[in-house]
Amino acid sequence: MDQQSKKLRIMMNVAIFAAVTGILAQMEIPLPLIPISGQTLAVGITAVVLGSRQGALAMICYTAIGAVGIPIFSGFSGGMHILVGPTGGYIFGFIAAAYIMGVILEKTSFTIPMAFIANIIGMFITLLFGTIQLKIVLDLGWNAALAAGVYPFLIVGFIKAFLASWIGIIIRNRLIQANLLIVESKRKAA
C-alpha cells in the first residue's frame, strides 16, 4: 500500500471513530443507580483500537465537530459554549487521555490487563482536565470542585475502564484479522 492511500485510510478511520464517539455519547447503558454514558467509554475504545496518534486525532476531530455546533457531545449538546463552559474540560481531557492511553499500550502490549491500566490512567487524566476547568469557570474551591467533578465518576469509571479495555481489545483483534486496521508500527519498519 503506498503512502497516499495509507494516509487516506488512516483519515477515514479517524473520521469514522469521531462519528462513532458522537453516537455513543448519546447512548446510556442503564445500570442500577448510575447509568454509564457512552462518551468516555467510546474514548477508551478509540484509544485502545487506534493507538496514540490516530486516537488523539479522532478526539480532536470529535471536539472540533462539536465546537462547530453539531450536537455530538453527551446529551445532544454542541457548540463552542460547551467547550468554554464548566464541563468543557472533560472534552479537552479526552484528547490528552486518548493520546497517553495509546502511548502506554504501544510501549507495552495491546492486551486486556494493560488496556485496563491504561484506561484507569486515562480516566484520571480526563478527570484532571475536567476538574481544573470546572474549578476555574465556576470559581470553586478544590474541595467543592472535587466533590462535583471527580467523586461521582469514580466507581462507574472503573466499570467503564474494564468495558472499554475488554471491548477495545476484542475489536482491535477482529479488525487486524480482517485486515482493516492500519497499525503504525514504527519499530518494525525501522
Binding site: L57, V68, G79, G85, L140, F162, I167
Partner: protein, 265 residues
C-alpha cells in the same frame, strides 16, 4: 433527531451577524471569552452585558433558541450562585436564614460569577446559531492554515470533520439496526444482573465498530478511484471574504475591550 445532527443549531437568517465572515465571528468570540475573565467591577460587567445584548438583538435569533442552549447548565449557574452565597464571608451581614449569615460580599461574588458564566454561554452560542457548520469548518481550516508550517494536518482535519458529519446519520441508523437485530436474538441489557448487562453490551458494540470500519475502507477506495490527491491545489465552492462590516465589527470590539479595561476596578 437525525436532522438535528446534520444542521446543528443553525437558525437561518440574513441579519448582520449572519452575514459576517465566520472568521470574524470566531476571532471576536474567542477574545470575548478571554476578556470576560478580566471584568471585575459593576460597570465592566455592565459593558459586556450591553455588548452581548446588542449582539443578540442584531442577530435576530429568537431568544428561545438561546434559552435552549442554556437549559443544560441552569442547574450549574444556580449551584454556583448558592455556593458563593454560602461560602464567601466578606463585607457586611446582609441577612440571616436559620441563623446562617449571608454576607453582602457573597451576594456580589455569586452574581458576578453567574453573570460571567451567563455571558460566556450566550455569546459563544451565537456563533453556532448564526453560522452553518460547513462555514465554521471552512473558517477553521483558513484560520489554522499557518499551522501547516509545523506539519499540523489542517486540511486533513477539515476533511475528516466533513466525512464524520456525513457518516453520523448513517452510523446512527446502523446502530439502531444492530440493536434491533440483537434484541430479536434475545440480547437484553436493560434488565438482569449487572454482569449479564455488561456482557450484553459486547454484541452491540463490536458489530458497530466493525461495520463502521468497513465503510471507512469503502470510502477510502472510492476517493482514491476518483483521484483524491490531498489538500494541494484543491479548490473551494465557497470562498470566504472579509468585508466592510467585518472591519467595523473589529473596531467596535476593540473599543469595547478598551472600555472594559478603563472600567475595571
Amino acid at each position: 433527531m437525525n436532522n438535528m445532527m446534520i444542521i446543528g443549531q443553525y437558525v437561518p437568517g440574513n441579519s448582520i451577524i449572519h452575514r459576517l465572515d465566520p472568521r470574524t465571528k470566531i476571532t471576536v468570540i474567542f477574545f470575548f471569552v478571554v476578556f470576560v475573565f478580566f471584568a471585575n467591577s459593576f460597570w465592566s460587567y455592565a459593558l459586556l452585558t450591553v455588548f452581548a445584548a446588542v449582539s443578540v438583538i442584531a442577530s435576530r435569533v429568537p431568544v428561545r433558541y438561546i434559552a435552549k442552549g442554556l437549559t443544560p447548565i441552569w442547574f450549574l449557574i444556580v449551584f454556583t450562585f448558592l455556593l458563593h452565597l454560602i461560602v464567601t464571608k466578606e463585607g457586611q451581614v446582609a441577612f440571616e436564614i436559620f441563623s446562617w449569615k449571608i454576607y453582602t460580599g457573597g451576594i456580589a461574588q455569586g452574581i458576578a460569577i453567574s453573570m460571567r458564566f451567563f455571558l460566556l454561554i450566550v455569546v459563544t452560542s451565537l456563533l453556532t446559531l448564526t453560522t452553518t457548520p460547513i462555514e465554521i469548518t471552512d473558517a477553521i481550516e483558513e484560520m489554522l492554515a499557518p499551522l501547516k508550517k509545523v506539519k499540523f494536518p489542517v486540511h486533513e482535519l477539515a476533511l475528516m470533520m466533513s466525512i464524520s458529519l456525513r457518516f453520523i446519520p448513517t452510523l446512527m441508523q446502523e446502530t439502531d439496526k444492530i440493536s434491533k437485530a440483537q434484541a430479536s436474538r434475545g440480547v437484553d441489557f436493560r434488565t438482569g444482573p449487572l454482569k449479564e448487562r455488561i456482557k450484553a453490551v459486547v454484541p452491540l458494540l463490536v458489530p458497530l465498530f466493525v461495520s463502521a470500519f468497513k465503510r471507512a475502507e469503502e470510502l477510502a477506495m472510492a476517493m482514491e478511484a476518483r483521484g483524491y490527491q490531498g489538500g494541494e491545489g484543491r479548490s473551494k465552492l465557497r470562498e470566504l471574504r472579509i468585508g466592510k462590516i467585518d472591519v467595523l465589527i473589529y473596531i467596535l470590539f476593540i473599543c469595547v475591550v478598551a472600555g472594559l479595561f478603563l472600567l475595571r476596578s
